[in-house]
């Protein structure tokens, strides 16, 4: 078979999926973000049956499906469960690399939240170290109302 395209550049059609999204936060997430924005408080919800406090908060217990979840304020300090130092400027990163992501188990919570770790010596970060939230000065009701978590010295 003769390859008729041997000397021809393959044609490529460029496009993108440009669909605007506006996700309704729902009443449960809204309460979380209002407390964060207005009072610099991190709220979770607790299931008395499963004896677990979830952060981010859940409207219904994901384990037993009961709806009577109690609002609980958790600490803005906690333990670093794991982390990564992103060195490459990945397309998804909104900040300039290196960026450190951490999973933080806040005191009073049974689940961890994802956030940035900053002001830490890269060689000194360890699983198990204590970190505390640094709230953003300007808060609009999003996860970015927490600027980052920093080591507790």
């Amino acid at each position: 078979m003769i390859d008729i395209f041997a000397d021809v550049e393959p044609m490529v059609f460029k496009s993108g999926i440009n669909v605007p999204y506006s996700w309704w936060a729902g009443e449960t997430a809204e309460r979380f973000f209002l407390a964060l924005r207005d009072d610099k408080k991190i709220m979770g919800t607790g299931c008395s049956i499963c004896e677990k406090v979830f952060v981010p908060p859940r409207k219904v217990c994901p384990l037993c499906f009961q709806e009577n979840m109690a609002w609980v304020e958790v600490s803005s300090e906690g333990v670093l469960e794991s982390f990564t130092i992103v060195e490459r400027q990945l397309a998804s990163l909104p900040r300039k690399a290196p960026v450190i992501f951490g999973l933080i188990r806040l005191d009073g919570a049974d689940t961890s939240i994802l956030h940035y770790i900053e002001d830490a010596d890269h060689t000194d970060i360890k699983i198990g170290m204590r970190v505390a939230a640094k709230f953003s000065d300007e808060r609009s009701g999003s996860m970015h109302d927490i600027d980052c978590f920093r080591p507790v010295r």
């Binding site: 999204y21 506006s22 309704w24 936060a25 729902g26 997430a29």
Partner: protein, 387 residues
């Protein structure tokens, strides 16, 4: 013969609305799931597997099966996602049937959902079509539907007024369904006076955009009768997703539905569908389909669909009521829509359809429509299948 016969033993729906700002996606899903569990008097612990689907680009969430487990109850359970566009809901129903019939699972939870208010539905649908050939010249779902309507009108002389009669029927039926989104009667004049979207389709000829979720629980023959006194037995399923390119479609006939329905009739031994079927929940996204597709189903002769509609036979109280729920024209959370048809057909067979109940239902049909003029279909029966 399937390894295990399968029945629907519980259904749950949200109260479908244009916007649900009070809940996020997982919470919306959870509402439908909890209602289905309550209907079947089961708990989430009784569920062996979860089948879920939506259309990715309507919510912009990748791996929805994984993301949704807090709401679906899928934590530490088998969860699988099926997605085929508009047919997603009916595809899910067929998937649930297969998973139970295979003997892998005894009780399966099936969930279809959509929050159409969160994105640009038409923008997302347009990307379904081939990026090189079709996407640049064809926009959204409505242009395909308009092409079908024009082809049919040219062939058989049906009118916009004929189609409007279908909208009037479905919107009237919707008043009996507390879950429907649009629950206000309209007249033929209202339809014809509403804005023209894509000739010959007026605004009141087409489905709305809806936020909603539907959950259905299927169980095998060993336990279905213990869960509910009147299970809805799935007699047969079939589908045809024939076309890839819009130019391939045989416009003016929905031959995918003709093919799927003939397969189902043959499997179940149905010779005269008009007489043997008691109610149809048709995935009918616009009014003209209410005329055309009943011909493909073998309910009306070719070109006689409008006549059959005008006779009142498909109204509540007629010989073969279609869309007692109000159908898609009254409510369309796309990923859930096909599953809502299935759930509504089940309610009819189980005798739980309340104000929209058709008397003495022995056989019901539910369908799904989507993709490139694709069709799915399920046959529901009061009696346990004898094959």
């Amino acid at each position: 013969m399937p390894k295990k016969r399968v029945a629907i033993v519980g259904t749950g729906q949200t109260y479908h609305k244009s916007h649900r700002p009070d809940v996020n996606g997982q919470e919306l899903i959870n509402e439908a799931v909890k209602r289905a569990l309550q209907d079947a008097d089961l708990t989430i612990k009784d569920i062996d597997a979860v089948v879920i689907g939506n259309m990715d680009h309507f919510e912009g969430i990748n791996y929805v099966d994984c993301w949704s487990v807090d709401g679906s109850g899928g934590i530490m359970k088998p969860v699988i996602k099926l997605t085929t566009g508009g047919t997603t809901g009916s595809t899910l129903a067929i998937g649930g049937y297969q998973l139970v019939a295979s003997g892998f699972f005894e009780k399966v939870l099936i969930i279809g959902w959509e929050k159409n208010s969160e994105s640009d539905t038409t923008g997302a649908i347009t990307t379904a079509f081939d990026p090189v050939w079709d996407r640049l010249v064809f926009a959204g779902a409505i242009s395909g539907l308009a092409a079908e309507a024009q082809a049919y009108m040219a062939k058989y002389g049906a009118t916009e007024k004929d189609a409007a009669r279908v909208s009037v029927r479905d919107r009237k039926h919707a008043c009996n369904n507390p879950h429907a989104q649009l629950r206000r009667e309209i007249t033929i004049e209202d339809v014809l006076a509403s804005p023209m979207l894509a000739d010959p389709i007026h605004l009141l000829d087409v489905c709305p955009r809806t936020d909603g979720a539907c959950a259905v629980i299927m169980a095998n023959e060993d336990c279905a009768g213990k869960i509910t006194a009147v299970p809805d037995w799935i007699w047969a399923t079939a589908n045809r997703h024939k076309y890839t390119y819009l130019g391939d479609v045989n416009w003016g006939e929905l031959d995918s539905l003709a093919g799927a329905s003939r397969e189902i009739y043959a499997k179940a031994g149905i010779r005269e569908p008009k007489k043997e079927i008691d109610v149809i929940e048709l995935y009918q996204p616009y009014s003209f389909a209410g005329i055309i597709w009943i011909e493909d189903l073998g309910i009306a002769e070719r070109g006689k669909g409008a006549e059959y509609i005008w006779s009142g036979a498909t109204d509540m109280g007629g010989e073969l009521p279609i869309n007692p729920s109000g159908g898609v024209i009254a409510c369309n959370p796309i990923g859930a829509t096909g599953l809502i048809r299935c759930a509504e057909a089940a309610l009819q067979v189980m005798g739980k359809a309340e104000a929209r109940q058709v008397p003495d239902v022995n056989f019901a049909i539910s369908t799904g429509f989507g993709g490139c003029m694709w069709s799915d279909m399920l046959l529901h029966g009061k009696r346990k299948p004898d094959f």
